[in-house]
Each structure stands twice: as C-alpha cells, then as structure tokens.
Symmetry: C2
Subunit: 396 residues, 2 copies
C-alpha cells in the first residue's frame, strides 16, 4: 500500500509565523512514516509558497535568501481540472508537479486559522486537517464565540465591543469611549487575533484611550472586558477520536511568564548556544513542557465539570471539526470561571494536553487522528456535492 | 483614468448554479461601463473556470460543449508572487494573463456563498464583493445564525438540530428521532443550504423519518422547527451605503408559487418562445418582479420595527459586510414574527428591494456600492496586514 502524502503547511502572513514553523516541523518529526510521507510547504511572510528538503532542518530557520535559493517555489491552481491535489513547481516545464493527498494545516493566527485558508482548500477540493471554515472563523472572533457561548449558557465575561473609527486619531478614539461607563480596571483585547498579543490593562479613561490606539493598529475591532483579579488560566483540548466520540484532554494551568520571550527562548531552549547542536528538535522536552504549566491543577468539582462540559458543548454546537484548545479565565480567590477563547489550531497542536490525558494519546497518534478526521470530513463533503449536483435536476 | 476591471464570478458547484448565472449576467448588464470593465468568469458544475465573450450572451446558456470550445479556461495561482490579481489562461504561453482589480461574487448556494470562496480571495489577496468569510459562513448556517439572533434578543423559532447518523438507513434515522417529543406538524430544513430547496412538512413521526432521509441526502445537519400556520414571509435587504451608514431596503412579501419552476419559467419569461428573441435580457421586467411579491405589505408598526431593527442589529453584530437579504416568517393571523434566515448573496442581488426603497438605489448604483464596499474592505485589510507583520518585531 502506498503512503499517504501529507503536505504540511506552516509559516504564513501572521504575527505567529515563527510559532507556526515549529508546529509544522513537529508534525513532520513525529508523523508515522510507515503510513505518511510528509511534504513541507513553507509560506513566507509575503505569502509565497516554498518546498524542499532544506525545510526539514530546523537550523535553516528563519529562512534566509541563501536557503530560499535552494528551495522550489510552488503554487496551487484554482479553477483548473485537477483529479488529485497538486502543487505546481514554478518555472519548471517537466516534472513540475508534486501530488499529495491531504493538507496538514499548521498555521497560527489570522492568516491560516480564521477560515480563509480552510475556504481555499474547500474550493480547491483538497482534504485538510482541523476545524472547518465556519468553526475556524467563529473561533477566531472572540466576539461571535462569546455570543454563541451565552446562547449555550456557557459563562463568559461581559464585554463591550468597539469598532475602529474611520479616522484613528487620538481625539476620535477618545470620542468613541466618552459615553462609556466602565468599572475600571478593564482588559482591552483585539477581537480577532488568536493569541496573547495586544492585550492591555487600563485603570482609567486615559490608559484606555492609549491602549485602544495600540490595539486598533492590529485589529479593527476590540473588546473591553472587566479585569479579572487573581487571574489564573485553564486550558483544555477537545476533538473527535477515531470512533467519532468527542473526547477532552487533561486540563492545564499555564504560567504566563513567557509572554515576550524570543522564538529561541520560548520554544527551543533557554540556552541559545544549544541552537548549534546537531540534533536540535522542534519538540519541546517534557521538562520544558512541565516548566510552563501545571497539569491537573487543583479545581473544585464544579470548575472541572464546567471546563469539560463547556468545551464539549461548544465544540459540538460548532459541528465538531478539528482539535481546538479552549481557554478559560478564573479568579483564583472567588473561584469564578469563564470561557475565554478558542484556538482552532493551538500551538504544538496542544499535543502535551493529549499526551498527559487519560487517553495517553502521544503526538504521533494525535497527528494520525487529525489526518483521519480530515479525510473523513472530505469524503463526507465529496458525497454531498455529488448528491447536490445530481439532485439539482429534480428541481428543473 | 483607466477603468476598474471587475471579474464577475458566477455558476459553481451548487444547486443554484443556474440562478447564479442570471445574477452574474445582470451585474454585467447594468454595470456602469464608464467606470468598470467586466470580465465574465463562469464556474461550471465541475468547478472549472472559463472566460470569453460568449459568456456575455444569455442565449449561450446552459453552456454546451460547442460554446465551451470557444471559451478560454482560466485559473488562479495561489502561493505565487502576484502584484495584481491575475487570471492565468490555460495552455497559452504568451499573452496568457488577464489582470483584474476586484472579484464580483455572484454565486448562490454553498459553493460560493458560505465563506469558502471568500476565504480563497482572502488568501489570494484579491478584493471581492459581499460578506466576509465569518459572516458568510455564519449566515449560511441556519443553526448558528439562530444562536446569534437569540443572543441579540431577535425572535427566532425554536428548533431541534439533528446530525446525520453515520449510517443513513431508515432504521438509524428512525432511532435518531425516537426520543423526540414533538408538537406536529413540523418543518424539516437542511441547516446549511441557503434556499428553499429541501424543506419538508411532517405531520407525524413516519413523515418525519421519510423527510429526514430526503434532507440527509443533501445536508449533514437538519433543523426541525414548529410548523407556522397562516405562513407569510417578509424579506428586507441591508448594507452599508457609500457614507458607511447601515441602511435597509423596502420590505417585500414574496409569493411562493414559483418554487419548482424551470430556469426559463422562473427568471426569463413565462413564454419560452421569447428565449429566441435577440434582445433577451437577464434583468426581470418590473412586471415580472411585481407579479412575484408585494412591496410594502401591510404590517403593524411593531412588525415593521422588528424587521428593520433585527436586520440592522444582526448585520452590525456580524461586522456589517456585504449586502445580504434577511428573511422573516410570520403567522398572518396572530401577527407573530420570527427572523428565519440570511442570504449573504441574494438572488439578483435583491436589486428590486433597493430600487423600490426610499433611497431609490437602482441596480447600477447597487453594483457600484457593492464594488466600493469590496474595495474599502480590502484596503482596510491590506493596511492591517502591513501593520501586523511589521509589529511582530516588537514582540520578539
């Protein structure tokens, strides 16, 4: 039996370009190569697509011009008759096609995680991993996710949503908030970026104005939420297993000291000299993983039930595609807890949450499930399209 | 000043392929040619893209092989460095590019209206008309749209949502509904198709089972709603005008006698011999438009206010992109009224609703506004992407 060719997409026009590289390389590294053949597809910050053996080596990142000259530039044709997913190699007239079976999407941030990239693969009629267009786009909007949570009786923070004024000068932003009555302090968050980037705390109207000016630089929409005292965060991952049952991972309590660390600091090692070592790996060590979070933190029975049932309920309501990580906020002292946001493609695919779950699903098995789910969703759609087109005759 | 090149996309892998052709041809026909140069792009039922002068002539539809041989097959390159939106002409090595400025999306149904096509143009970095990825995908899900409406306190019908069992045999579907306690009669509707196709009424469990089997052929998810006695429908369109204000159209009460008419019957003329006439047009006559609906139907002040404010509120909450038509159901006798569903790209762009509104926006002006809004959304995004990439340096 021939292997399934998996085009692993990573990089992209996003704040989280670098983290996406790691998630992509991890998938390649752990993938079961008796079943899968990985094809790396690196999307640079200009949106150009590249492939080549050099992409397998983490030491070649960030990709410099010297490496790029060894890579092949590739593209997808949309609108052409393609029987099998095909990457076209640029400026080659023979052997200019790379066939594959499924796209493993390892993007983080708005470019590849918000439904757009998923839509591209829908139109291209190519199987892809992760959440579908609808749920990806909803998850990446804090605003709409919270609306759906409220309807599902999932506790979320109150918020006020503001749209960037057409003229984003100090005076216009000030005018925007003049009539607001707020209980300071408040959090100011970009409504559509799926990361901790651009989150500010404001204790008065002046700080709010300044923060809004900053956030409007990166998002057209902000949400203002009450500041949570004694803040702790809890995360959980959720997906369908191969039997089609919805399962949840272990719960983690991340520590957030690493908010502004560099690529190397955050993901590879605190000792940058290690980057020179030959067998450097994209997979963080167990030690590193455990230093950044507490697994199975102390929670009341109510809190634990809330986290698990909310994650399942929201995932189910959104159609149960992908393997998102769902993040919660809590006031450690009062025990109050709120669903905060959903990451359709969490960093490192949240493998450590599955690895430390009761199911003990390791990273290799996780990638396996993600690919199988992607294939299943694709086959289901294919069948529907056939039926749709053929039944249209009935209505004529 | 050179004209803005508008690639008008229509057709597609959808139930509503034929209607989409008409909407596309209408846009071309009414477009202000002192400002715009239309480029027709026909997407056939296999998903292949075609362009050529023959597409301008309505008499050439449905497109037969003889016509196809005169057309040029075109495709988009995704992942390549493209400074301006470009259609590549297949099998040509010189003069093989058609440049354009914006895509005018005239698709109806899941293929082009549900966020996927919108995502493709996002990734391709091409301006497009209509609702964005998030709102398109939400509007095309009756389920999620209703959840958001409830959170916005917009009245919608109660519903039960069912997912297709993995084995869609009679017995499995029967099992699915065995535990449901329903007040018959009920409506059974596909959750994700934006048209009146596949809607059934069931008066008992047996009819429900049969209907579910039918709907599961075309959608993986159905919603069951209470049957509305003395049913009347009301529709309204909503958009941002060139000044950025949210405006609503006149309200119509459609008559639904034409549910199962043919392409010609429904859109061109009741006299099929007229199809042979040279100056046949894609634009329905005022007479035809008025025969199919009542403008400004008799409504109570409360009903009218509910329709207008609900349309504006939902449109605003979803980010205020595009020019959707929002449909309502009402019990004529009791006066009860519910928001039913949203069409992100309504048939004929709902031009007749704008033409007959207080704003008296004709079809030419409507296309103008749609193109301007598409350009504005694109420019806003472009600016954000630049800022996003450059600011990412701050966080490293």
């Amino acid at each position: 039996m021939s292997k399934i060719k998996v085009a692993v997409f990573f990089g992209g026009k996003s704040f989280e370009h670098d983290v996406s590289i790691l998630t992509g390389l991890q998938s390649i590294q752990v993938m079961d190569i008796t079943k899968y053949e990985p094809i790396p597809v690196y999307v640079d910050k200009d949106g150009l697509w590249w492939t080549g053996l050099e992409l397998f080596n983490i030491k070649n990142y960030p990709i410099k011009q010297k490496i790029k000259s060894k890579l092949k530039q590739v593209y997808l044709k949309i609108g052409d008759n393609i029987t099998k997913p095909t990457l076209q190699i640029k400026n080659k007239f023979f052997n200019n096609k790379i066939l594959f079976d499924i796209a493993l999407l390892s993007f983080h941030g708005s470019y590849g995680e918000n439904g757009s990239m998923q839509g591209l693969f829908e139109i291209a009629n190519i199987a892809y991993t992760g959440a579908d267009v609808l749920s990806s786009s909803v998850y990446m909007s804090k605003n709409i996710t919270k609306k759906i949570c409220r309807e599902l009786s999932i506790n979320v923070l109150n918020d006020i949503s503001l749209t960037k004024p057409s003229n984003e000068e100090f005076l216009d932003v000030k005018k925007l908030i003049n009539d607001l009555t707020l209980d300071y302090p408040v959090f100011i968050k970009p409504a559509n970026l799926g990361s901790s980037i651009g989150i500010y705390k404001a204790s008065n109207q002046k700080e709010l104005t300044t923060s809004l000016l900053e956030v409007f630089k990166i998002d057209d929409e902000v949400i203002i939420e009450p500041y949570v005292e004694n803040l702790v965060e809890y995360n959980i991952a959720v997906m369908k297993n191969n039997a089609g049952e919805i399962i949840t991972s272990v719960i983690e309590q991340p520590n957030n000291k690493d908010d502004y660390l560099t690529f190397e600091d955050k993901y590879l090692s605190s000792d940058s000299s290690k980057k020179k070592v030959a067998n450097i790996t994209a997979i963080p060590s167990d030690e590193l993983i455990e230093s950044r979070r507490i697994f199975k933190p102390t929670l009341s029975k109510e809190q634990e039930t809330f986290i698990i049932t909310s994650a399942k309920k929201l995932f189910q309501a959104m159609g149960a595609t992908g393997s998102p990580r769902i993040d919660f906020l809590s006031n450690k002292k009062t025990g109050e807890i709120w669903l905060n946001e959903v990451n359709p493609i969490p960093g490192a695919n949240a493998f450590y949450l599955w690895q430390n779950s009761d199911y003990k699903i390791n990273y290799t098995e996780l990638i396996d499930i993600m690919i199988e789910n992607g294939m299943k969703n694709y086959k289901k759609k294919e069948k529907n399209i056939d039926l749709k087109i053929s039944s249209s005759v009935i209505f004529k």
